[in-house]
Symmetry: C2
Subunit: 153 residues, 2 copies
């Protein structure tokens, strides 16, 4: 009974019309991209929720598109995050370490609790799938913005 409610809630959140017994399909065409909040991102970033966390998978799944120059604010994840870069090239940086290049096809693991940011480069778009693992009902802790100086350093 609990599982039925959880699945119904997932379907509701995705606005999906599909409700098979054991298979749920979130169709690409049924989802919505939204502009990311200017409080947590710099520049123009689109966020598309792909699939909600459920009891078994334990993570949200989203598609994030960073236009050139755009990036997240500094942040951390209580249970970590996995990025699958699907298009373009971008930068990731852990606080106190060197900025690093990532490109389409790369997979990036951010360990729990580390302060970091990720985004496009100054000249290229970067798109990634983000798997953000839930802990006690949350999967991210936001901090201050990445300044232009930090971004270009």
């Amino acid at each position: 009974m609990k599982k039925t409610i959880a699945i119904a809630a997932t379907l509701s959140a995705l606005g999906s019309p599909v409700a098979a017994e054991g298979i749920i399909i979130s169709e690409n065409s049924s989802r919505k991209s939204m502009l990311a909040s200017k409080e947590q991102f710099t520049g123009t970033v689109f966020v598309e929720p792909m699939f909600d966390a459920n009891e078994q998978n334990g993570h949200s799944t989203g598609l994030v598109t960073f236009t050139p120059g755009a990036r997240t604010a500094w942040h951390s994840h209580p249970r970590g995050q996995l990025l699958i870069i699907t298009e373009g090239a971008g930068w990731v940086q852990e606080d106190g370490a060197e900025k690093r290049n990532v490109k389409a096809g790369d997979v990036v693991w951010f360990a729990p609790g580390i302060r970091h940011w990720h985004g496009a480069t100054d000249t290229t778009l970067m798109r990634h799938i983000a798997l953000s693992y839930m802990e006690n009902g949350t999967n991210v802790a936001w901090s201050d913005q990445v300044t232009d100086e930090q971004f270009l350093d």
Copy 2:
């Protein structure tokens, strides 16, 4: 100490030379595609492990390419599986239900324990990222092959 060993094991399995403190990058160019076993797949299927399960994420991450006509055997996942279709078009089917179409951009959730298969169509390639959730050290239970009659039905 336990975490350090887990991360080292992950790096070892991926053959990755990168060992930053809090960020692990699996580069696209560092990974290997392998032909999938004929015992668990029909037709020509390539499997590329993208990232190993760790204590926080709890799932393997792999890229699977089904050439036209290729498909998994019937199987189930003890804790479910999430597919992100990245290219082409394919079919998925739960035992006892109708075969369903999936295409690039769709996300597919298979609930724990349901008997099903997934693959290309008879004429198109299908590629997906597969997140397979671990339970007691395993994430799949294989069964018999999908016959041509079942595949084309």
